[in-house]
Amino acid sequence: MKVLVPVKRVIDYNVKVRVKADQSGVDLANLKMSMNPFDEIAVEAAVKMKESGKATEVVIVSVGPAQALDTIRTALAMGGDRGILVKVEGPVEPLAVAKLLKAICDEEKPGLVLTGKQAIDSDANQTGQMLAALLGWGQGTFAHSLELSDGTIKVAREIDGGLQTVSLKLPAVVTTDLRLNQPRYASLPNIMKAKKKPVAEKSPGDLGVDVTPRCKVLKVAEPAKRAGGVKVKTVAELVDKLVEAGVVT
Protein backbone atom coordinates (compact mmCIF):
# COMPACT_ATOMS: atom_id res chain seq x y z
CA MET A 1 0.00 0.00 0.00
CA LYS A 2 1.20 3.45 -0.88
CA VAL A 3 0.87 6.13 1.82
CA LEU A 4 0.70 9.80 0.86
CA VAL A 5 1.74 12.34 3.48
CA PRO A 6 0.98 16.03 2.88
CA VAL A 7 3.26 18.31 4.94
CA LYS A 8 3.23 22.07 5.41
CA ARG A 9 6.08 24.49 6.00
CA VAL A 10 5.08 26.75 8.90
CA ILE A 11 6.66 29.02 11.48
CA ASP A 12 8.52 26.96 14.09
CA TYR A 13 6.27 26.24 17.06
CA ASN A 14 8.75 27.81 19.46
CA VAL A 15 8.66 31.19 17.74
CA LYS A 16 6.15 33.86 18.70
CA VAL A 17 4.92 35.83 15.72
CA ARG A 18 4.52 39.56 15.54
CA VAL A 19 1.76 41.35 13.74
CA LYS A 20 2.93 43.85 11.12
CA ALA A 21 2.44 47.50 12.07
CA ASP A 22 0.16 48.08 9.06
CA GLN A 23 -2.00 45.10 10.11
CA SER A 24 -1.58 43.47 6.71
CA GLY A 25 -0.42 40.18 8.20
CA VAL A 26 2.23 38.68 10.46
CA ASP A 27 5.92 39.30 9.98
CA LEU A 28 7.62 36.03 9.05
CA ALA A 29 10.83 37.59 7.70
CA ASN A 30 13.92 35.83 9.09
CA LEU A 31 11.92 33.65 11.44
CA LYS A 32 12.70 29.99 11.85
CA MET A 33 10.40 27.81 9.74
CA SER A 34 9.81 24.09 10.29
CA MET A 35 7.52 21.27 9.34
CA ASN A 36 4.08 21.61 10.93
CA PRO A 37 4.42 19.45 14.09
CA PHE A 38 1.25 17.47 13.38
CA ASP A 39 2.61 16.61 9.92
CA GLU A 40 5.82 15.33 11.52
CA ILE A 41 3.63 12.94 13.48
CA ALA A 42 1.98 11.89 10.20
CA VAL A 43 5.37 11.25 8.57
CA GLU A 44 6.45 9.19 11.58
CA ALA A 45 3.26 7.10 11.42
CA ALA A 46 3.73 6.47 7.70
CA VAL A 47 7.39 5.53 8.06
CA LYS A 48 6.50 3.14 10.89
CA MET A 49 3.98 1.47 8.56
CA LYS A 50 6.67 1.02 5.98
CA GLU A 51 9.12 -0.37 8.53
CA SER A 52 6.55 -2.91 9.69
CA GLY A 53 5.88 -3.98 6.11
CA LYS A 54 2.36 -2.54 5.98
CA ALA A 55 3.21 0.24 3.56
CA THR A 56 5.25 -0.16 0.41
CA GLU A 57 6.00 3.46 -0.35
CA VAL A 58 5.74 6.79 1.50
CA VAL A 59 5.19 9.78 -0.77
CA ILE A 60 5.62 13.24 0.73
CA VAL A 61 3.70 16.17 -0.77
CA SER A 62 3.96 19.83 0.07
CA VAL A 63 2.08 22.80 -1.31
CA GLY A 64 4.06 25.98 -0.83
CA PRO A 65 6.93 28.21 -1.94
CA ALA A 66 10.30 26.95 -3.22
CA GLN A 67 11.55 26.62 0.37
CA ALA A 68 8.91 23.98 1.06
CA LEU A 69 11.43 21.70 -0.62
CA ASP A 70 13.37 21.81 2.67
CA THR A 71 10.28 20.56 4.47
CA ILE A 72 9.96 17.70 1.98
CA ARG A 73 13.66 16.85 2.44
CA THR A 74 13.16 16.71 6.21
CA ALA A 75 10.33 14.22 5.73
CA LEU A 76 12.47 12.21 3.29
CA ALA A 77 15.26 12.17 5.88
CA MET A 78 12.78 10.72 8.38
CA GLY A 79 12.12 7.88 5.95
CA GLY A 80 9.88 9.08 3.13
CA ASP A 81 10.70 7.62 -0.30
CA ARG A 82 10.04 10.47 -2.69
CA GLY A 83 8.49 13.90 -2.79
CA ILE A 84 6.15 16.09 -4.78
CA LEU A 85 6.35 19.85 -4.45
CA VAL A 86 3.39 21.85 -5.70
CA LYS A 87 4.96 25.24 -6.01
CA VAL A 88 2.74 28.17 -5.09
CA GLU A 89 3.79 31.59 -3.81
CA GLY A 90 1.55 33.31 -1.30
CA PRO A 91 -1.25 31.95 0.83
CA VAL A 92 -3.26 28.94 -0.35
CA GLU A 93 -6.60 28.30 1.31
CA PRO A 94 -7.36 24.84 2.76
CA LEU A 95 -9.97 24.13 0.07
CA ALA A 96 -7.44 24.85 -2.68
CA VAL A 97 -4.87 22.63 -0.95
CA ALA A 98 -7.47 19.87 -0.73
CA LYS A 99 -8.18 20.20 -4.47
CA LEU A 100 -4.46 20.01 -5.31
CA LEU A 101 -4.10 16.94 -3.09
CA LYS A 102 -7.15 15.37 -4.68
CA ALA A 103 -5.58 15.77 -8.12
CA ILE A 104 -2.38 14.17 -6.82
CA CYS A 105 -4.33 11.30 -5.24
CA ASP A 106 -6.08 10.71 -8.57
CA GLU A 107 -2.64 10.20 -10.14
CA GLU A 108 -0.88 8.43 -7.30
CA LYS A 109 -3.78 6.29 -6.05
CA PRO A 110 -2.53 5.91 -2.46
CA GLY A 111 -4.24 3.46 -0.10
CA LEU A 112 -4.01 5.95 2.75
CA VAL A 113 -3.43 9.68 3.20
CA LEU A 114 -1.91 10.63 6.55
CA THR A 115 -1.60 14.29 7.49
CA GLY A 116 -1.72 16.67 10.46
CA LYS A 117 -5.06 17.64 12.00
CA GLN A 118 -4.24 21.32 11.74
CA ALA A 119 -1.45 23.63 10.71
CA ILE A 120 -0.21 25.75 13.60
CA ASP A 121 -0.18 28.94 11.50
CA SER A 122 -3.72 29.24 10.15
CA ASP A 123 -5.23 26.87 12.76
CA ALA A 124 -8.02 25.98 10.30
CA ASN A 125 -8.32 22.21 10.85
CA GLN A 126 -9.98 21.56 7.48
CA THR A 127 -7.66 20.18 4.80
CA GLY A 128 -7.80 16.45 5.62
CA GLN A 129 -11.58 16.45 5.97
CA MET A 130 -12.01 18.40 2.72
CA LEU A 131 -9.71 16.06 0.87
CA ALA A 132 -11.62 13.03 2.15
CA ALA A 133 -14.91 14.53 0.99
CA LEU A 134 -13.57 15.44 -2.47
CA LEU A 135 -12.26 11.90 -2.89
CA GLY A 136 -15.43 10.36 -1.50
CA TRP A 137 -13.36 8.56 1.15
CA GLY A 138 -13.88 7.97 4.84
CA GLN A 139 -11.87 9.89 7.42
CA GLY A 140 -10.38 9.36 10.84
CA THR A 141 -9.52 12.75 12.29
CA PHE A 142 -7.49 13.52 15.44
CA ALA A 143 -5.90 10.06 15.49
CA HIS A 144 -4.61 8.79 18.82
CA SER A 145 -3.76 5.30 17.60
CA LEU A 146 -4.10 3.29 14.39
CA GLU A 147 -4.61 -0.33 13.53
CA LEU A 148 -4.27 -1.38 9.89
CA SER A 149 -5.77 -4.60 8.66
CA ASP A 150 -6.81 -5.91 5.28
CA GLY A 151 -8.82 -3.24 3.51
CA THR A 152 -9.68 -1.33 6.68
CA ILE A 153 -8.08 0.89 9.26
CA LYS A 154 -9.23 1.34 12.83
CA VAL A 155 -8.65 4.83 14.18
CA ALA A 156 -9.00 5.79 17.84
CA ARG A 157 -9.85 9.49 17.76
CA GLU A 158 -9.23 12.15 20.41
CA ILE A 159 -12.66 13.69 20.86
CA ASP A 160 -14.01 16.22 23.37
CA GLY A 161 -15.41 13.50 25.61
CA GLY A 162 -12.51 11.05 25.45
CA LEU A 163 -11.68 8.53 22.74
CA GLN A 164 -13.85 7.24 19.92
CA THR A 165 -12.82 4.39 17.65
CA VAL A 166 -14.06 4.14 14.07
CA SER A 167 -13.30 1.62 11.38
CA LEU A 168 -12.75 3.00 7.89
CA LYS A 169 -12.82 1.35 4.53
CA LEU A 170 -9.55 1.94 2.65
CA PRO A 171 -8.57 4.13 0.92
CA ALA A 172 -9.12 6.74 3.64
CA VAL A 173 -7.75 9.95 5.08
CA VAL A 174 -6.35 10.02 8.62
CA THR A 175 -5.35 13.20 10.45
CA THR A 176 -3.00 13.01 13.41
CA ASP A 177 -3.26 14.23 16.98
CA LEU A 178 -0.43 14.73 19.44
CA ARG A 179 -0.50 11.35 21.16
CA LEU A 180 -0.15 9.20 18.04
CA ASN A 181 3.63 8.94 18.29
CA GLN A 182 6.85 10.78 19.05
CA PRO A 183 8.43 11.76 15.71
CA ARG A 184 12.05 10.71 15.25
CA TYR A 185 14.94 13.01 14.55
CA ALA A 186 16.56 12.38 11.22
CA SER A 187 20.13 11.11 11.53
CA LEU A 188 22.93 12.83 9.62
CA PRO A 189 23.43 9.92 7.19
CA ASN A 190 19.70 9.90 6.50
CA ILE A 191 19.73 13.65 5.89
CA MET A 192 22.52 13.08 3.34
CA LYS A 193 20.61 10.23 1.71
CA ALA A 194 17.46 12.31 1.52
CA LYS A 195 19.23 14.79 -0.74
CA LYS A 196 19.36 12.15 -3.42
CA LYS A 197 15.74 11.07 -3.18
CA PRO A 198 13.58 12.20 -6.10
CA VAL A 199 11.30 15.22 -5.71
CA ALA A 200 8.98 16.10 -8.58
CA GLU A 201 7.80 19.65 -9.04
CA LYS A 202 4.35 20.61 -10.20
CA SER A 203 2.32 23.76 -10.55
CA PRO A 204 -1.36 24.24 -9.70
CA GLY A 205 -1.89 24.61 -13.47
CA ASP A 206 -0.43 21.13 -14.08
CA LEU A 207 -3.08 19.82 -11.69
CA GLY A 208 -5.87 21.93 -13.13
CA VAL A 209 -6.60 23.77 -9.90
CA ASP A 210 -7.25 27.48 -9.44
CA VAL A 211 -5.62 28.48 -6.16
CA THR A 212 -6.65 32.14 -6.12
CA PRO A 213 -7.73 32.91 -2.54
CA ARG A 214 -11.50 33.28 -2.25
CA CYS A 215 -11.61 34.88 1.18
CA LYS A 216 -10.25 38.36 1.74
CA VAL A 217 -8.10 39.04 4.78
CA LEU A 218 -9.07 42.59 5.75
CA LYS A 219 -6.82 42.91 8.72
CA VAL A 220 -4.53 41.01 11.07
CA ALA A 221 -4.37 42.55 14.53
CA GLU A 222 -2.74 41.92 17.89
CA PRO A 223 -5.06 40.21 20.35
CA ALA A 224 -6.25 42.28 23.29
CA LYS A 225 -3.43 42.51 25.82
CA ARG A 226 -4.06 41.46 29.38
CA ALA A 227 -3.23 44.11 31.95
CA GLY A 228 -0.21 43.14 34.04
CA GLY A 229 -0.99 41.29 37.23
CA VAL A 230 0.42 41.25 40.72
CA LYS A 231 2.39 38.72 42.71
CA VAL A 232 0.93 37.64 46.00
CA LYS A 233 3.04 36.37 48.87
CA THR A 234 0.83 33.78 50.51
CA VAL A 235 -2.00 31.43 49.76
CA ALA A 236 -4.24 33.46 52.11
CA GLU A 237 -3.51 36.60 50.11
CA LEU A 238 -4.30 34.75 46.88
CA VAL A 239 -7.67 33.72 48.26
CA ASP A 240 -8.32 37.33 49.42
CA LYS A 241 -7.73 38.51 45.86
CA LEU A 242 -9.99 35.89 44.34
CA VAL A 243 -12.77 36.80 46.77
CA GLU A 244 -12.25 40.52 46.02
CA ALA A 245 -12.48 39.81 42.30
CA GLY A 246 -15.74 38.01 42.94
CA VAL A 247 -14.66 34.82 41.18
CA VAL A 248 -15.08 32.65 44.27
CA THR A 249 -17.77 33.05 46.90
Partner: protein, 317 residues
Amino acid sequence: MTALVIAEHDNKTLNDATAKTVTAAALVSSPVHILVAGQDCAAVADAAAKIAGVEKVLLADDALYARMLAENMETLILGHADTYDAILAPATTTGKNYLPRVAAKLDVPQISEIIAVVSPDTFERPIYAGNAIETVQAPPGKKIITVRTTAFKAAATGGNARVEMISTATDPGLSRFVDENLSKSERPDLTSAKIVISGGRGLGSAENFKLLDQIADRLGAAVGASRAAVDAGYLPNDFQVGQTGKAVAPDLYLAIGISGAIQHLAGMKDSRVIAAINKDSEAPIFQIADYGLVADLFQAIPELNDEIAKRGIGQKA
Protein backbone atom coordinates in the same frame (compact mmCIF):
# COMPACT_ATOMS: atom_id res chain seq x y z
CA MET B 1 -32.65 33.82 3.94
CA THR B 2 -32.00 31.40 6.72
CA ALA B 3 -29.16 30.06 8.84
CA LEU B 4 -28.84 26.41 9.79
CA VAL B 5 -27.12 25.46 13.04
CA ILE B 6 -26.09 21.85 13.53
CA ALA B 7 -26.86 20.77 17.09
CA GLU B 8 -24.24 19.29 19.42
CA HIS B 9 -25.65 16.62 21.69
CA ASP B 10 -25.26 13.07 23.00
CA ASN B 11 -28.73 11.87 21.91
CA LYS B 12 -30.06 12.69 25.38
CA THR B 13 -29.19 16.28 26.18
CA LEU B 14 -28.53 19.30 24.06
CA ASN B 15 -25.03 20.68 24.63
CA ASP B 16 -25.02 24.42 25.35
CA ALA B 17 -22.50 24.85 22.54
CA THR B 18 -25.61 24.79 20.34
CA ALA B 19 -27.28 27.83 21.95
CA LYS B 20 -23.98 29.70 21.69
CA THR B 21 -23.72 28.85 18.00
CA VAL B 22 -27.29 30.10 17.55
CA THR B 23 -26.17 33.50 18.88
CA ALA B 24 -23.43 33.68 16.24
CA ALA B 25 -25.76 32.37 13.53
CA ALA B 26 -28.38 35.05 14.16
CA LEU B 27 -25.72 37.68 13.39
CA VAL B 28 -25.01 36.05 10.02
CA SER B 29 -28.53 35.28 8.79
CA SER B 30 -32.02 34.91 10.19
CA PRO B 31 -34.28 33.21 10.96
CA VAL B 32 -32.28 30.36 12.47
CA HIS B 33 -33.11 26.68 12.06
CA ILE B 34 -31.45 23.87 13.99
CA LEU B 35 -30.67 20.42 12.65
CA VAL B 36 -30.67 17.68 15.27
CA ALA B 37 -29.15 14.52 13.84
CA GLY B 38 -28.97 11.51 16.10
CA GLN B 39 -30.74 8.41 17.25
CA ASP B 40 -33.68 8.40 19.67
CA CYS B 41 -32.99 12.05 20.24
CA ALA B 42 -36.47 13.59 20.26
CA ALA B 43 -35.77 15.12 23.67
CA VAL B 44 -32.80 16.96 22.16
CA ALA B 45 -35.01 18.38 19.42
CA ASP B 46 -37.52 19.54 22.02
CA ALA B 47 -34.76 21.31 23.94
CA ALA B 48 -33.50 22.92 20.72
CA ALA B 49 -37.02 24.14 19.98
CA LYS B 50 -36.95 26.15 23.21
CA ILE B 51 -33.96 28.25 22.21
CA ALA B 52 -35.17 31.81 21.65
CA GLY B 53 -35.06 33.02 18.07
CA VAL B 54 -35.15 29.55 16.53
CA GLU B 55 -37.92 29.20 13.95
CA LYS B 56 -37.75 25.51 13.14
CA VAL B 57 -35.97 22.36 14.29
CA LEU B 58 -35.20 19.65 11.76
CA LEU B 59 -34.96 16.22 13.32
CA ALA B 60 -33.14 13.39 11.56
CA ASP B 61 -33.59 10.43 13.86
CA ASP B 62 -31.80 7.36 12.57
CA ALA B 63 -29.13 4.88 13.62
CA LEU B 64 -26.97 6.41 10.88
CA TYR B 65 -26.51 9.53 12.99
CA ALA B 66 -26.15 7.95 16.43
CA ARG B 67 -22.47 9.02 16.57
CA MET B 68 -22.65 11.86 14.08
CA LEU B 69 -19.98 10.24 11.91
CA ALA B 70 -18.58 12.78 9.46
CA GLU B 71 -19.36 10.88 6.27
CA ASN B 72 -23.00 10.35 7.25
CA MET B 73 -23.42 13.93 8.45
CA GLU B 74 -22.01 15.20 5.17
CA THR B 75 -24.70 13.55 3.02
CA LEU B 76 -27.46 14.52 5.44
CA ILE B 77 -26.47 18.20 5.57
CA LEU B 78 -25.85 18.39 1.82
CA GLY B 79 -29.38 17.13 1.24
CA HIS B 80 -30.74 20.21 3.01
CA ALA B 81 -28.06 22.78 2.20
CA ASP B 82 -29.93 24.41 -0.69
CA THR B 83 -32.40 26.17 1.57
CA TYR B 84 -29.78 27.91 3.66
CA ASP B 85 -27.39 30.75 3.05
CA ALA B 86 -25.34 29.97 6.13
CA ILE B 87 -24.51 26.69 7.88
CA LEU B 88 -22.83 26.85 11.27
CA ALA B 89 -21.54 24.28 13.71
CA PRO B 90 -19.79 24.64 17.05
CA ALA B 91 -16.02 24.17 16.80
CA THR B 92 -16.14 21.00 18.86
CA THR B 93 -14.35 17.85 17.75
CA THR B 94 -17.68 16.79 16.21
CA GLY B 95 -18.28 20.01 14.28
CA LYS B 96 -14.66 20.21 13.14
CA ASN B 97 -14.99 16.67 11.87
CA TYR B 98 -18.00 16.93 9.56
CA LEU B 99 -18.35 20.56 8.52
CA PRO B 100 -15.25 20.84 6.27
CA ARG B 101 -16.65 17.92 4.24
CA VAL B 102 -19.83 19.89 3.63
CA ALA B 103 -17.85 23.00 2.68
CA ALA B 104 -15.66 21.08 0.24
CA LYS B 105 -18.64 19.47 -1.47
CA LEU B 106 -20.36 22.85 -1.79
CA ASP B 107 -17.08 24.37 -3.04
CA VAL B 108 -17.22 26.99 -0.29
CA PRO B 109 -14.19 28.00 1.81
CA GLN B 110 -14.95 27.30 5.47
CA ILE B 111 -14.28 29.98 8.06
CA SER B 112 -13.01 28.13 11.15
CA GLU B 113 -13.46 29.02 14.83
CA ILE B 114 -14.85 32.51 14.58
CA ILE B 115 -14.75 34.59 17.74
CA ALA B 116 -16.76 37.56 16.42
CA VAL B 117 -19.18 38.41 13.64
CA VAL B 118 -18.18 41.83 12.30
CA SER B 119 -20.87 41.81 9.62
CA PRO B 120 -22.79 38.98 7.94
CA ASP B 121 -19.84 38.17 5.68
CA THR B 122 -16.91 39.28 7.85
CA PHE B 123 -15.53 37.45 10.85
CA GLU B 124 -12.72 37.50 13.38
CA ARG B 125 -10.76 34.37 14.14
CA PRO B 126 -7.55 33.60 16.01
CA ILE B 127 -4.52 32.42 14.05
CA TYR B 128 -0.96 31.50 15.12
CA ALA B 129 -2.10 30.12 18.47
CA GLY B 130 -4.09 33.25 19.16
CA ASN B 131 -1.09 35.55 18.74
CA ALA B 132 -2.91 37.31 15.94
CA ILE B 133 -6.57 37.92 15.19
CA GLU B 134 -7.54 37.77 11.54
CA THR B 135 -10.50 39.71 10.17
CA VAL B 136 -11.64 37.78 7.13
CA GLN B 137 -14.33 38.42 4.57
CA ALA B 138 -16.00 35.38 3.06
CA PRO B 139 -16.83 35.43 -0.67
CA PRO B 140 -20.44 35.98 -1.78
CA GLY B 141 -22.63 32.92 -1.50
CA LYS B 142 -23.13 30.38 1.23
CA LYS B 143 -21.25 30.83 4.48
CA ILE B 144 -19.86 27.72 6.17
CA ILE B 145 -18.62 28.50 9.66
CA THR B 146 -17.44 26.84 12.85
CA VAL B 147 -17.86 28.85 16.03
CA ARG B 148 -15.59 29.06 19.06
CA THR B 149 -18.37 28.82 21.58
CA THR B 150 -16.51 30.45 24.47
CA ALA B 151 -16.69 33.71 22.50
CA PHE B 152 -20.49 33.84 22.31
CA LYS B 153 -23.19 33.94 24.99
CA ALA B 154 -25.83 31.24 24.83
CA ALA B 155 -29.09 32.34 23.24
CA ALA B 156 -31.83 32.52 25.85
CA THR B 157 -34.57 29.94 26.22
CA GLY B 158 -38.25 30.70 25.86
CA GLY B 159 -38.63 29.85 22.19
CA ASN B 160 -41.30 27.61 20.81
CA ALA B 161 -40.13 26.36 17.42
CA ARG B 162 -41.84 23.60 15.54
CA VAL B 163 -40.03 20.29 15.16
CA GLU B 164 -40.11 18.72 11.72
CA MET B 165 -38.98 15.17 11.04
CA ILE B 166 -36.84 15.06 7.94
CA SER B 167 -35.97 12.19 5.71
CA THR B 168 -32.57 10.67 6.23
CA ALA B 169 -29.90 10.01 3.65
CA THR B 170 -28.48 6.64 2.71
CA ASP B 171 -25.41 5.12 4.33
CA PRO B 172 -22.31 6.09 2.35
CA GLY B 173 -20.71 2.95 3.81
CA LEU B 174 -17.32 4.55 4.36
CA SER B 175 -16.97 4.31 8.13
CA ARG B 176 -18.33 2.43 11.07
CA PHE B 177 -18.44 3.24 14.77
CA VAL B 178 -16.53 0.69 16.85
CA ASP B 179 -16.51 1.93 20.42
CA GLU B 180 -16.11 4.86 22.71
CA ASN B 181 -14.16 5.41 25.88
CA LEU B 182 -15.51 8.55 27.50
CA SER B 183 -14.20 10.21 30.63
CA LYS B 184 -16.83 10.09 33.30
CA SER B 185 -17.04 13.04 35.58
CA GLU B 186 -19.52 14.57 37.96
CA ARG B 187 -17.82 17.89 37.44
CA PRO B 188 -18.96 20.62 35.06
CA ASP B 189 -17.85 20.50 31.46
CA LEU B 190 -14.43 22.03 30.89
CA THR B 191 -15.58 24.44 28.19
CA SER B 192 -18.54 25.83 30.11
CA ALA B 193 -17.34 25.69 33.74
CA LYS B 194 -17.14 28.97 35.67
CA ILE B 195 -13.93 27.87 37.35
CA VAL B 196 -11.19 25.74 35.82
CA ILE B 197 -8.25 24.36 37.79
CA SER B 198 -5.52 23.11 35.49
CA GLY B 199 -2.39 21.23 36.31
CA GLY B 200 0.80 20.80 34.34
CA ARG B 201 3.94 18.75 34.29
CA GLY B 202 4.74 20.25 37.70
CA LEU B 203 2.17 17.95 39.28
CA GLY B 204 4.55 15.09 38.56
CA SER B 205 2.12 12.16 38.51
CA ALA B 206 -1.45 11.06 37.93
CA GLU B 207 -1.65 10.41 41.66
CA ASN B 208 -0.71 13.99 42.47
CA PHE B 209 -3.46 15.31 40.21
CA LYS B 210 -5.85 14.09 42.88
CA LEU B 211 -4.60 16.99 44.99
CA LEU B 212 -6.56 19.24 42.66
CA ASP B 213 -9.73 17.18 42.91
CA GLN B 214 -10.63 18.21 46.42
CA ILE B 215 -10.38 21.90 45.59
CA ALA B 216 -12.23 21.41 42.33
CA ASP B 217 -15.04 19.65 44.16
CA ARG B 218 -15.30 22.39 46.77
CA LEU B 219 -15.44 25.10 44.12
CA GLY B 220 -17.59 23.24 41.62
CA ALA B 221 -14.72 23.62 39.18
CA ALA B 222 -13.66 21.61 36.16
CA VAL B 223 -10.15 20.17 36.01
CA GLY B 224 -7.93 20.80 33.01
CA ALA B 225 -4.36 20.03 32.00
CA SER B 226 -1.46 21.12 29.85
CA ARG B 227 -0.29 19.01 26.94
CA ALA B 228 2.74 17.89 28.93
CA ALA B 229 0.48 16.53 31.67
CA VAL B 230 -1.65 14.68 29.12
CA ASP B 231 1.36 13.33 27.21
CA ALA B 232 2.74 12.02 30.50
CA GLY B 233 -0.53 10.18 31.07
CA TYR B 234 -1.56 12.12 34.19
CA LEU B 235 -4.96 12.79 32.63
CA PRO B 236 -6.74 11.70 29.42
CA ASN B 237 -6.55 13.72 26.20
CA ASP B 238 -9.92 15.40 26.64
CA PHE B 239 -8.54 17.45 29.55
CA GLN B 240 -6.01 19.30 27.37
CA VAL B 241 -6.45 23.06 27.25
CA GLY B 242 -4.72 24.99 24.49
CA GLN B 243 -4.22 25.79 20.83
CA THR B 244 -4.77 22.21 19.81
CA GLY B 245 -6.92 21.13 22.74
CA LYS B 246 -9.91 22.91 24.21
CA ALA B 247 -10.46 26.65 24.40
CA VAL B 248 -11.85 27.75 27.75
CA ALA B 249 -12.83 31.16 29.11
CA PRO B 250 -14.06 30.72 32.69
CA ASP B 251 -14.42 33.43 35.33
CA LEU B 252 -11.40 31.95 37.08
CA TYR B 253 -8.58 29.91 35.57
CA LEU B 254 -6.14 28.56 38.13
CA ALA B 255 -2.92 27.27 36.52
CA ILE B 256 -0.83 25.08 38.78
CA GLY B 257 2.60 23.82 37.78
CA ILE B 258 2.10 25.08 34.22
CA SER B 259 4.87 27.13 32.59
CA GLY B 260 2.64 29.06 30.19
CA ALA B 261 3.78 28.02 26.70
CA ILE B 262 2.07 29.96 23.88
CA GLN B 263 0.17 26.84 22.89
CA HIS B 264 -1.31 26.60 26.37
CA LEU B 265 -2.07 30.32 26.64
CA ALA B 266 -3.97 30.12 23.34
CA GLY B 267 -6.63 28.05 25.06
CA MET B 268 -7.13 30.03 28.26
CA LYS B 269 -6.02 33.64 27.97
CA ASP B 270 -9.58 34.87 27.46
CA SER B 271 -10.45 33.77 31.00
CA ARG B 272 -11.76 36.65 33.13
CA VAL B 273 -9.30 36.15 36.00
CA ILE B 274 -6.14 34.06 35.77
CA ALA B 275 -4.26 32.93 38.85
CA ALA B 276 -1.06 30.91 38.75
CA ILE B 277 1.00 28.92 41.20
CA ASN B 278 4.49 28.03 40.05
CA LYS B 279 7.80 27.67 41.84
CA ASP B 280 9.69 29.46 39.08
CA SER B 281 9.20 33.22 39.39
CA GLU B 282 10.30 33.59 35.74
CA ALA B 283 7.62 31.26 34.35
CA PRO B 284 5.84 32.96 31.41
CA ILE B 285 2.46 32.18 32.94
CA PHE B 286 3.10 35.04 35.39
CA GLN B 287 3.16 37.54 32.51
CA ILE B 288 -0.53 37.01 31.91
CA ALA B 289 -1.71 35.98 35.38
CA ASP B 290 -3.71 38.55 37.34
CA TYR B 291 -2.49 36.93 40.54
CA GLY B 292 0.72 34.96 40.74
CA LEU B 293 2.02 32.99 43.68
CA VAL B 294 5.62 31.81 43.54
CA ALA B 295 5.52 28.66 45.63
CA ASP B 296 6.01 24.94 45.65
CA LEU B 297 2.66 23.54 44.67
CA PHE B 298 2.95 20.58 47.01
CA GLN B 299 2.90 23.04 49.87
CA ALA B 300 0.51 25.57 48.33
CA ILE B 301 -2.23 23.17 47.25
CA PRO B 302 -3.02 21.68 50.67
CA GLU B 303 -2.88 25.21 52.11
CA LEU B 304 -5.26 26.45 49.44
CA ASN B 305 -7.62 23.60 50.17
CA ASP B 306 -7.57 24.40 53.91
CA GLU B 307 -8.03 28.11 53.31
CA ILE B 308 -11.04 27.54 51.09
CA ALA B 309 -12.56 25.15 53.63
CA LYS B 310 -11.88 27.50 56.53
CA ARG B 311 -13.64 30.39 54.81
CA GLY B 312 -16.55 28.26 53.69
CA ILE B 313 -15.89 29.16 50.06
CA GLY B 314 -17.86 27.18 47.55
CA GLN B 315 -20.57 26.24 50.02
CA LYS B 316 -22.69 29.26 49.24
CA ALA B 317 -23.52 28.29 45.69
